[in-house]
C-alpha cells in the first residue's frame, strides 16, 4: 500500500503525516508512507487545498485534518483490498 501526504510543510500537513504514521503502526499495515512537498507533484493530484491524504493513488481528503477514526477507516479498507 502506498500512502502519501501532500502539503508544502504547513502545521496541518505535519500533523496529518504524524496521524497517518500512527494509524499505520497501530493497524500493523505494511505501507509506504511518503511526504510530498514539491508543488508540481502535489498539483498532479488536482487538489485545491492542502493537506491532502492519498491512499493508493486515491485522494481521500483535502484541505483539512481528518480525524484519527477516518484515517483508520480508510487505511483498513485499503488494507482489506489487498
Amino acid at each position: 500500500m502506498k500512502v502519501k501526504v501532500l502539503g508544502p510543510g504547513c502545521a496541518k500537513c505535519k500533523a496529518l503525516y504524524g496521524e497517518a504514521a500512527k494509524a499505520i503502526a497501530s493497524l500493523g499495515l505494511e505501507a509506504e508512507l511518503e511526504k510530498v512537498e514539491k508543488l508540481e507533484e502535489i498539483m498532479a493530484y488536482r487538489i485545491m487545498a492542502t493537506p491532502a491524504l492519498v491512499i493508493d493513488g486515491e485522494v481521500k481528503s483535502a484541505g483539512r485534518l481528518p480525524s484519527a477514526t477516518e484515517i483508520t477507516t480508510w487505511l483498513s479498507a485499503a488494507g482489506a483490498k489487498q
Binding site: 508544502p8 504547513c10 500537513c13 508543488l39 488536482r46 487545498a49 481528503s61 484541505g63
Partner: protein, 365 residues
C-alpha cells in the same frame, strides 16, 4: 406521516429499514436546535452582563476610587477582554459553520464560466465564505487558473479571502461597533473587486510561471460526501479551537496595553501622529502593516485606545487591511507561481486601494 400504514405497503425490506430509522432522527436534530438556542441565549445573557460585572468588580470588589487613571484602566480591561473574546467565539463559530457550505471546488466551478467584471464581483464575495488558509494559496491559484478562471478574477479572490475575515470583523465589531465593521467589510470587498479588475486589464498572464499553465486542466480529485449538520457544528468548533486558540493571547495583551493608554495617555495625544492632519499617517500605517500578521489581533485594541486620543478612523482601517491583506509570508508562497514583477504589481495595486480607503475615510468622515 402515515408511518404505521406504510409498513405493509412498501415492498422492499431495506427501504423499510431506512424509513424506520428516519423517525429516530428528528429528536436528534431537535436536540441540536434546542441546545443551539439555549447556548445562544446563555451567550447573550453573559454578553449583557459584562458591563455591570466589570463595574461591580472595579468599584464594588476592588473598591477603587472613580475617575482615576488606574480605575479607568482596570474597568476598561475587565470590560473589553470578555466582550471581545465572546464576540470572537460567536463570530468564528458562525463563520466556521457558514464555510462548511462552501468548498474551493464549488467556488471554482462558479467562477470558471464567468466574464471578467461579474467574475470579479463573485470572486470577491466568494473569497469571504470559501475556506481559505494562506498555505493553500498556491494550490487554489493553480486550480483556478487551470480551470479557465481569468487571472484578474483569481486575484479578486486572493485579495478578499484573507482581508475580509472573521477575526478582523469580530475585533472591529467589538472595539469600534458594527458600523465600522460593516464599513471595513464593504470597502475590503471593493478593494478586492477593483484590484482584481485592474490586474485583469493589465493582461499579465506572461508573468505567471509557465509551469502553471503546463498543468493539464481537468476535474479536481476527491469528490467528498456532503457534510451533515453534526459535521458542520464540528467545523465551527474546530475553527474556534484553531483560530480563537491562536489569537486570544494577543487580544488580551493588546487590550492590556490599550487599557494603559486609556488610563494614562492624555487626550488628543495621538492627533499629531495619527490624526487627519498628518497626511503621511496612512502610507505609514500601510507600510507598518505589511510584515505583521496574526499579531494583528493584539494591535487593534491598542489602535482603538489611540483612536480615543485623536487618531483617525481611515488610518486605522488602512492599517487593519494592510496587516491581513498584504502579508509578506503570502508573497513568499506566491513566488512559486508568480514572477516577482507580478507580485510587485499585486502589492502595488492592492496597496494603492488601501491608501485610497484610508484617505477617503479620513477626509470624508
Amino acid at each position: 406521516m402515515n408511518e404505521p400504514l406504510s409498513l405493509p405497503v412498501l415492498p422492499t425490506a431495506p427501504a423499510e429499514a431506512g424509513e424506520r430509522i428516519a423517525p429516530a432522527a428528528p429528536p436528534r436534530s431537535a436536540r441540536l436546535v434546542a441546545s443551539g438556542v439555549v447556548l445562544l441565549a446563555l451567550w447573550y445573557a453573559v454578553y449583557r452582563g459584562i458591563a455591570p460585572l466589570a463595574d461591580f468588580l472595579t468599584y464594588g470588589v476592588l473598591r477603587l476610587a472613580r475617575e482615576t487613571p488606574f480605575s479607568s484602566a482596570i474597568s476598561f480591561f475587565l470590560y473589553e477582554v470578555p466582550k471581545v473574546l465572546l464576540l470572537l467565539l460567536l463570530i468564528v463559530f458562525g463563520v466556521g459553520i457558514v464555510r462548511s457550505f462552501f468548498t474551493p471546488e464549488k467556488t471554482r466551478q462558479v467562477l470558471a464560466g464567468k466574464r471578467e467584471s461579474l467574475g470579479n464581483v463573485l470572486a470577491s464575495l466568494l473569497g469571504v465564505v470559501t475556506p481559505f488558509c494562506s498555505c493553500s494559496a498556491v494550490p487554489m491559484f493553480i486550480g483556478f487558473v487551470t480551470a479557465g478562471v481569468p487571472l484578474g478574477v483569481t486575484f479578486s479572490f486572493l485579495v478578499s479571502a484573507p482581508m475580509v475575515n472573521e477575526v478582523a470583523l469580530a475585533l472591529l465589531f467589538g472595539l469600534f461597533g458594527w458600523k465600522v465593521a460593516a464599513l471595513y467589510a464593504g470597502t475590503g470587498l471593493l478593494v478586492a473587486l477593483v484590484a482584481g479588475w485592474v490586474i485583469g486589464r493589465l493582461k499579465l498572464e506572461r508573468w505567471v510561471e509557465p509551469w502553471v499553465y503546463a498543468i493539464p486542466a481537468g476535474e479536481v480529485g476527491g469528490d467528498f460526501a456532503p457534510p451533515t449538520w453534526v459535521d458542520r457544528i464540528g467545523a465551527g468548533k474546530a475553527a474556534v479551537k484553531e483560530i480563537v486558540g491562536k489569537v486570544w493571547p494577543y487580544v488580551v495583551a493588546g487590550i492590556a496595553v490599550g487599557a494603559g493608554i486609556h488610563g494614562w495617555v492624555p487626550a488628543n495625544f495621538m492627533a499629531g501622529i495619527m490624526g487627519k492632519q498628518a497626511w503621511w499617517s496612512v502610507p505609514l500605517a500601510v507600510l507598518i502593516g505589511i510584515p505583521m500578521y496574526s499579531n494583528a489581533a493584539g494591535i487593534v485594541p491598542v489602535v482603538q485606545a489611540l483612536l480615543g486620543k485623536g487618531a483617525a478612523l481611515g488610518t486605522v482601517l488602512a492599517f487593519m487591511m494592510s496587516v491581513i491583506g498584504l502579508s509578506l509570508p503570502e508573497f513568499v508562497i506566491l513566488r512559486k507561481v508568480l514572477r516577482p514583477a507580478l507580485i510587485a504589481v499585486f502589492a502595488g495595486v492592492v496597496g494603492t486601494g488601501i491608501l485610497i480607503v484610508g484617505y477617503v475615510f479620513n477626509f470624508v468622515l
